[in-house]
């Protein structure tokens, strides 16, 4: 028999054996590749060239990949747009690749629209659903199919366009909230070319900027920022001077030698004031010959008259004009703040006029209009599809909303980072109109405000897992085609929109198959770039084709010289008595139009001016705050005639008096846990107004009131405004 003592001894030995038998080695897995990448050495990183799609600029990137995992994104040093540089938004794209909320499977709606009740389905089921609905509406006249996407370029756009044409539907709409309609219209009026010019900041001696955040979000910010650095520091004897006029001291404005705060919407008038001095004092060769302009009405825009409208000092305006003329080549440019007013085209045309008077068109350090699709003459009329002008598509969106509401569409194909349910003004009632469409298909990586409303969600790869090509809208003289390739194998069971459209075309057969004869989008690309003189593999390795001969720059100056732009004043919705402040909105440096808001790296990136993180705020000048009885950090309700939202006040001495400024991009109701509940969405309180000539969205066209309110939480900033600005000493 065992006694207690020995029982314990034996029991101890057994427990010991059990315990240590169980941990002779903690199993650690070694997971080798199924198929290793080519040229791969274990532990050594590979760099793959591709293209960033975090904004429409089209910067080239190289991605460091270790053991099949993307680790870091950098700028492609060979790429003409960004020459090795990359902004924070591009760097953060890595997080969208690994995002836990990414859509990994196709989803079909099971509950009512907007309930968010989806079930996972297989790709077979998803495609048969899609094709079933397509076959139902095929052949109806007019075809009730809508395609609403972000602006696409390159062969992705070609595939989408051919699909819709072969399907028989004219309703292909590309929506870009920061489209440059006014810029295009102004360039057409002044230079006779409806395109975005190449702006040679690097070689200019004097840069005049009107309400444009070209170092942050406007156009091709990395390209401009690099050129700006060169303008300041790259020349032995010249440090280019930079003067910024606008209603708000942005990061761009803060880089200027001289910042002139002007009232919103008066950029055009300010430019005419400068032009007035140029012509009156005959400061440039072009100004001497501009007597026609003078007689058309320029003579009335004396610095004194202009000063009254803009709020800038007449003496300083005249001084800037003389400096601008005395430092050739000088360059004038304008951005969203000027273009987004109801008189946007007038503002931009006046700024373009300054370039004409400076005589910089076609000169180094000035403007030029390269033909960016010169390499695609073999495409004939379709060449334009590869590099369409960067329009907003607002008139088409409005048309589509009307047609949706009246039941003109049976099916909608939605895609894109521009998220129309979030970025269109609430007054347009896009959401309600979309819900009138019986079948909505979204091509999406995340459930944002738009894809949330769909009946069928098809998961697409992120741009780091996708094929593509692109012709950037700025930053090269027509010689650059960027290629993008998957830098890693697809993480989830995703298919790109182009591949799905090709598969659908194959299934639908007939004319559609003839229009889109490729098995995959990759095949389409390889075929397109075969025989261009550079092997496909080499082009992929370098990130594209950057050495094609540049096409001839298009003629710029009109024969008779430009006419004086038709004077238009900016109008703002709401009475000044009820809504005392003019509302100035600008794309967020971190989130752009809102697409970056689901990435924690971008949420925690302090705004360069307010240093605020993770939330929205509204900026007013200390003087305005005093009048309204508000102080820094107060919770307020920002109300416009179209709606209201909650925000915290951030005092900013660089905001023009009587202006409330707010960044766009926050305020999501969906789009994941990091994007949700971060303040109100300023897009939602904007009126559904158009710019008067080019019909782009007029974001800068409403007045607001601020009322103190108790709101939860507080605004977190990484620096206190007192310490940063020393209010009272700055202005």
């Amino acid at each position: 028999m065992l006694d207690r003592r020995n029982f314990l001894k034996l029991g101890g030995a057994t427990a010991f054996a059990a315990l240590f038998g169980g941990c002779d080695k903690i199993p650690k897995k070694i997971i080798p590749f199924v198929i290793p990448p080519e040229n791969h050495t274990l532990g050594e990183a590979l760099w793959y060239a591709s293209e960033c799609r975090q904004c429409p600029a089209g910067c080239g990137i190289v991605v460091r990949v270790s053991e099949g995992r993307a680790k870091k994104i950098e700028g492609n040093p060979l790429h003409p747009v960004n020459r090795g540089k990359l902004c924070a938004r591009g760097q953060a794209a890595l997080q969208s690749l690994y995002h836990p909320e990414r859509l990994a499977r196709p989803f079909a709606l099971t509950g009512p629209r907007g309930s968010g009740r989806f079930r996972e389905i297989s790709w077979e089921e998803a495609l048969s659903l899609l094709l079933g609905e397509m076959k139902k509406i095929r052949g109806k006249a007019p075809t009730p199919l809508l395609m609403l996407t972000e602006p696409m370029r390159g062969h992705r756009n070609l595939v989408a366009a051919r699909f819709m044409r072969a399907f028989g539907s004219p309703d292909r709409v590309a929506w870009d909230p920061f489209g440059q309609d006014a810029f295009l219209a102004a360039n057409e009026a002044v230079f006779g070319v409806r395109d975005v010019p190449e702006i040679d900041i690097a070689r200019t001696r004097y840069l005049l900027s009107f309400s444009g955040d070209f170092l942050e979000t406007w156009g091709s910010p990395v390209h401009y920022a690099r050129a700006y650095g060169a303008m300041r520091q790259d020349r032995a004897t010249v440090r280019g001077k930079f003067v910024h006029l606008g209603p708000r001291l942005s990061m761009t404005a803060a880089s200027a030698d001289l910042f002139l705060p002007i009232a919103p919407g008066t950029d055009g008038v300010a430019a005419l004031g400068i032009a007035h001095v140029l012509v009156k004092e005959k400061l440039t060769a072009q100004a001497i010959g501009a007597s026609a302009l003078w007689n058309e009405g320029l003579k009335e825009f004396t610095p004194e008259v202009v000063a009254k409208k803009t709020g800038a000092s007449p003496r300083v305006l005249a001084y800037v004009a003389r400096e601008f003329a005395g430092n050739q080549p000088g360059l004038a440019m304008a951005g969203n703040g000027a273009a987004g007013c109801t008189n946007g085209t007038f503002n931009l045309a006046c700024v373009a006029l300054l370039n004409v008077l400076a005589g910089n068109a076609g000169m180094p350090g000035g403007l030029s209009f390269p033909n960016r699709v010169a390499a695609f003459t073999r495409y004939g009329a379709e060449a334009g599809l590869l590099a369409p002008p960067p329009e907003s598509g607002y008139p088409a969106v409005r048309g589509a909303v009307g047609k949706m509401r009246s039941g003109g569409f049976r099916m909608a194909l939605l895609s894109g980072s521009t998220n129309p349910a979030f970025t269109l003004p609430a007054a347009l009632k896009f959401r309600e109109a979309l819900l009138a469409v019986p079948f909505i298909v979204s091509f999406a990586s995340f459930l944002d405000e738009t894809s949330f409303l769909s009946d069928l969600v098809l998961p697409v790869p992120t741009f780091l897992e996708d094929w593509g090509d692109d012709i950037a809208p700025a930053g090269h003289s027509g010689e650059a085609v960027t290629l993008s390739q998957p830098v890693v194998n697809a993480f989830h069971d995703t298919r790109s929109m182009a591949d799905i459209l090709l598969a659908a075309a194959k299934e639908l057969g007939g004319e559609m198959r003839r229009a889109l004869p490729w098995e995959s989008f990759r095949e389409c690309l390889e075929e397109a770039y075969r025989g261009t003189g550079k092997p496909w593999e080499d082009a992929l390795r370098e990130g594209g084709f950057f050495s094609l001969a540049p096409g001839p720059s298009r003629a710029t100056a009109r024969a008779s010289g430009p006419a004086l732009p038709k004077v238009a004043e900016a109008s703002f919705e709401g009475e000044a008595a009820k809504y005392p402040l003019v509302f100035h909105v600008y794309p967020s440096t971190s989130h752009y139009d809102g697409r970056g808001a689901n990435l924690p790296w971008l949420q925690e990136l302090p705004d360069p001016v307010s240093t605020a993180v993770w939330r929205n705020w509204v900026e007013i000048s200390p003087g305005t705050a005093k009048e309204l009885g508000l102080s820094d950090g107060d919770g307020v309700i920002v109300a416009s005639p179209s709606g209201s939202l909650e925000a915290f006040v951030s005092l900013h001495p660089g905001v023009a008096p009587g202006v409330a400024a707010m960044p766009l991009g926050q305020g999501h109701s969906h789009y994941g846990k990091d994007a949700r509940d971060r303040g109100g969405n300023p897009f939602s309180i904007l009126p559904a107004r158009e710019e008067s000539v080019a019909r782009g969205p007029a974001w800068q066209s409403t007045r607001v009131s601020l009322t103190r309110a108790k709101i939860g939480g507080r605004l977190v900033r990484t620096a206190h405004p007192e310490g940063q600005w020393k209010i009272g000493n700055v202005m």
């Binding site: 020995n6 650690k28 274990l42 532990g43």
Partner: protein
């Protein structure tokens, strides 16, 4: 009251150890997703280590062959063997084989395979008997003294930072 003598205790303890040993052996056979035999590949068929462990001359890690590598031969060789069928299944599903780590060095040491292999140190110096094993186990404890002995004999750096970086 009958008390078990010291003999009985020893016997009981040995029995327990025997059971323990048997369980370890049994676990070893099932320790890998596929019963891969180094003996068959190295001793019977004389395949060079670096045919599969391709990274040994190029990288810090010798590397585990990809499924594709296995299938180069096993598309045609021994396709009916139950273990090979498992590989074929991984290949068909395009899934990696989740091998369990056998040989391990502490995290605070840096050991680049390529330095040793390129200097002509035979694989069997550190992995003795692997060529005779049906189930790979780590035979050698990698103690610092053992490493240093060899480094001294070969006149290689014994600076701390050579291995502890």
């Amino acid at each position: 009251m009958l008390r078990p003598g010291p003999k009985a205790t020893i016997v009981a303890s040995l029995l327990v150890l025997l059971l323990f040993g048997a369980s370890v052996a049994a676990r070893a056979r099932t320790s890998q997703p596929i019963l891969y035999s180094h003996k068959v590949h190295v001793s019977s068929y004389k395949i060079d280590c670096r045919f599969c462990h391709t990274e040994a001359t190029k990288s810090a890690s010798a590397g585990i062959p990809s499924v594709e590598k296995c299938m180069i031969c096993h598309r045609v060789i021994a396709v009916d063997h139950p273990e090979i069928k498992k590989i074929a299944q991984y290949w068909k599903e395009k899934k990696p084989i989740p091998w369990n780590r056998v040989t391990e060095l502490p995290d605070h040491t840096y050991f680049p395979h390529k330095r040793m292999v390129n200097a002509g140190v035979p694989c069997l110096t550190c992995h003795p008997g692997i060529d005779k094993m049906d189930v790979a186990v780590q035979q050698r404890e990698f103690t610092m003294g053992w490493c240093m002995d060899c480094h001294r004999k070969r006149g290689v750096s014994i600076d701390c930072w050579t291995c502890h970086v």
